[in-house]
């Protein structure tokens, strides 16, 4: 029964790890959170949810799962109080079973058989949803009470194969999130961003300055004279403007990767969002964009010229949205977007535009061509190569543009 709860938590995107689940079990067996459902709720949340942003989701799952099941909960708690031997759980943590216990498993028809039946029961349980204590309540004696808690933690013999199977039975969704490419991608992005480093000595003097020390010691007639200096740190300041919503939804994933890579790489990174093109306001929190936005002029005042400006957007829209006052799809803009972009360029000469759209389509969209021209060909595809090119371009400032030239 509790395992079903576990599955639902995972399905809701709360990734509960094996060790956390074991800890919950150990706590329950020691009498923590078993007094009533409120305490159980608090203790389960304490042990399983590690981010307050997920509290709400946890609450939803919890409500859905336990509503009208107070009786079942009490039975479960009763069953939990006695029959789960502490040693068992300790054993599980050690990821091993004793010879004797292995023999017991064999006696029950072998490991595979056990797993199969387990899978069937799980299936059954899901279909019927009566969630009685049968599944776990028999605790100490039923094979499912034992292994039910964490079959993937138990390894016997050729562990890899069987463990794989167990995992397949229990956590069908587990592999979904383990997308190795994401990390690889973020890492590559990080490596590319690393080129944008500007190292400066700043902060506490805590590393030995060998050269100065030797020179000073020699001057001091051989008596040691230590000199320290501050460590070098990345002092690059980056301002990131990201297009959000509409056609950008298709590129959400890659933008997220760039964002997470950039966030860890730079000490000073500020992110603002805009929709389609830059007008008089940008915002930091998408949920509150209508109440808490920042004026673009204020942005230019707040952030100095030493900031590198990276704009991310697909620049795919109606050309009017760039060139004409009032062209924005969302509001009445007094001045054309192109003018705002030019102002930004004058304020942040080190700027580039990254476009997540594939480069081969750029020419077929008029608004992309216009933006590319406005950016003086400083638009690059949001790929690893594109990012590297963009970063080398960031080193040189853009040619100053005249704000009165209304070519768009």
């Amino acid at each position: 029964m509790l395992l079903d709860f576990h599955d639902r938590l995972r399905a809701a995107g709360i990734t509960v790890s094996l060790s956390e689940w074991l800890l919950l079990m150990r706590g329950l067996s020691m009498g923590l959170g078993t007094l009533d459902i409120d305490r159980f709720y608090t203790f389960a949340r304490l042990a399983l949810v590690k981010n307050e942003a997920l509290y709400d989701r946890f609450d939803q799952v919890f409500t859905l799962y336990w509503s009208g099941q107070t009786q079942a909960f009490n039975e479960l708690i009763d069953s939990l109080k006695s029959p789960i031997p502490d040693e068992w759980l300790r054993q599980l943590e050690k990821d091993a079973l004793s010879e004797e216990q292995k023999a017991q498993v064999e006696a029950l028809g072998g490991w595979d058989k056990l797993m199969e039946t387990l899978a069937e029961r799980l299936q059954e349980q899901k279909e019927e949803h009566h969630g009685g204590s049968r599944w776990i309540g028999t605790g100490g004696t039923s094979p499912f009470g034992h292994s039910g808690y964490n079959p993937e933690g138990i390894r016997i013999g050729d562990a890899a194969k069987r463990q794989g199977k167990a995992v397949k039975v229990w956590e069908k969704r587990q592999y979904k999130d383990l997308d190795g490419n994401t990390q690889l991608g973020t890492r590559n992005f990080k490596m590319a961003l690393r080129k944008l480093r500007h190292l400066a000595r700043d902060g506490r003097a805590d590393s030995l300055d060998l050269d100065t020390t030797i020179r000073a010691t020699a001057k001091n007639a051989g008596l040691l004279d230590i000199h320290m200096r501050a460590e070098r740190q990345n002092a690059m300041k980056v301002l990131l403007l990201i297009d959000i919503g509409g056609s950008m939804d298709h590129h959400a994933k890659i933008c997220e990767m760039l964002f997470s890579a950039a966030r860890t790489e730079f000490k000073r990174l500020d992110t603002f969002w805009f929709h389609n093109f830059i007008y008089e306001r940008v915002w930091q929190s998408n949920a509150r964009r209508h109440t808490q936005s920042t004026g673009t002029t204020e942005l230019m005042r707040l952030y100095g010229r030493d900031h590198r400006l990276i704009i991310v957007g697909d620049a795919t829209m109606s050309p009017y949205e760039i060139a004409v006052p009032g062209g924005s799809v969302e509001h009445w803009n007094e001045e054309p977007g192109a003018l705002w972009l030019k102002r930004l360029q004058n304020e942040f000469p080190h700027c580039v535009w990254l476009n997540p759209e594939e480069q081969q389509w750029w020419n077929s969209t008029p608004s992309v061509r216009m933006t590319q021209e406005l950016m003086q060909n400083r638009m690059f595809p949001l790929s690893l190569d594109g990012l590297s090119d963009a970063i080398s371009t960031l080193k040189t400032p853009i040619n100053p543009v005249s704000l009165n030239d209304n070519s768009y």
Binding site: L23, G33, R39, T42, K50, G203, Q292
Partner: protein
């Protein structure tokens, strides 16, 4: 006499951390008493408290020990006898001292998110096993009694998953009116009831103003009340009937930056305009 008010779920969190000997990670809005919690726990358990305040330059090693090579080098130049033993130059860190404690200690790792992103990862083993090696003297230091570790974070950086998995996590939500009243009364037992009510009205209304950069928190409310009581202001002077018409008295204790004060003045202005139109 203690005036720290805990909620039920916080108590469960501490019980669990004590029983299962896991670190307890506490997050919450600034001013909700995260750091104070550790002091309170140590007081109630009558256990010694070891605090480690993290800064951006703090390294994990500093919590264990530091080898002061520089002074050893200097001593060797001066021919000091101390120089013969390296142990004279090992400076104990907070965790070492806590591990050495004969009774169960409370360790506070304050504002862990201030440090480098690798910092929590560097402490995984030490917090798990509650022991570490000193390479210079080839000893192993392990805790005789596993200390209760309380870690606070202000959410400036995300903590690594591996670290989170080993902790219990509790988010101190902002106290509701009743809890807040208990907190205030425990600090100012003699406060006049009507002043308290008026002040709470102002305070919670103020927190509801959208767009404040820094919402006033518990500690600010307490400071403000201290000022009000010191001046012996009557409840009426707070203007609690309508927070939207005047800046509250001594607002400097509640609103800590000028943008917020401007914002608040704007709200008042808009509100007055609306009233005039009516």
């Amino acid at each position: 006499m203690s005036n720290y008010i805990t909620t039920d779920d916080l108590q469960i969190a501490i019980d669990a951390a004590l029983t299962l000997e896991r670190p307890l990670l506490i997050k919450g809005e600034p001013g909700t008493g995260k750091t104070e919690l550790a002091h309170e726990v140590s007081r109630r358990l009558k256990a010694p408290l070891y605090s480690w305040h993290i800064k951006s330059t703090t390294r994990a090693q500093q919590g264990l020990y530091e080898y002061d090579a520089v002074s050893r080098l200097r001593d060797s130049q001066l021919g000091d006898d101390k120089v013969a033993s390296i142990a004279n130059y090992i400076v104990k860190g907070v965790l070492w001292e806590a591990f050495e404690s004969t009774e169960r200690a409370v360790v506070l790792i304050d504002e862990i998110d201030k440090a480098d992103i690798e910092f929590p990862n560097d402490l995984l083993q030490e917090l798990d096993k509650m022991s570490f090696d000193v390479y210079e003297t080839k000893q192993t230091i392990s805790a005789s009694k596993r200390p209760l570790v309380i870690i606070t974070s202000n959410n400036e950086k995300e903590l690594p998953d591996a670290f989170l998995r080993r902790c219990f996590f509790h988010y101190i939500s902002f106290p509701d009116r009743d809890t807040m009243q208990r907190i205030v009364e425990s600090h100012f037992p003699d406060i006049k009831q009507n002043l308290l009510k008026a002040a709470m009205d102002v305070f919670f209304d103020l927190r509801d103003v959208p767009g404040l950069k820094k919402k006033p928190s518990t500690s600010e409310l307490l400071d403000w009340l201290k000022l009000l009581i010191a001046d012996d202001l009557p409840a009426e002077a707070l203007g609690a009937e309508d927070i939207r018409t005047v800046l509250p008295r001594m607002h400097g204790a509640l609103l800590k930056n000028e943008q917020d004060i401007h914002l608040f003045e704007r709200v008042i202005f808009l509100h007055k305009q609306q009233q005039n139109r009516r």
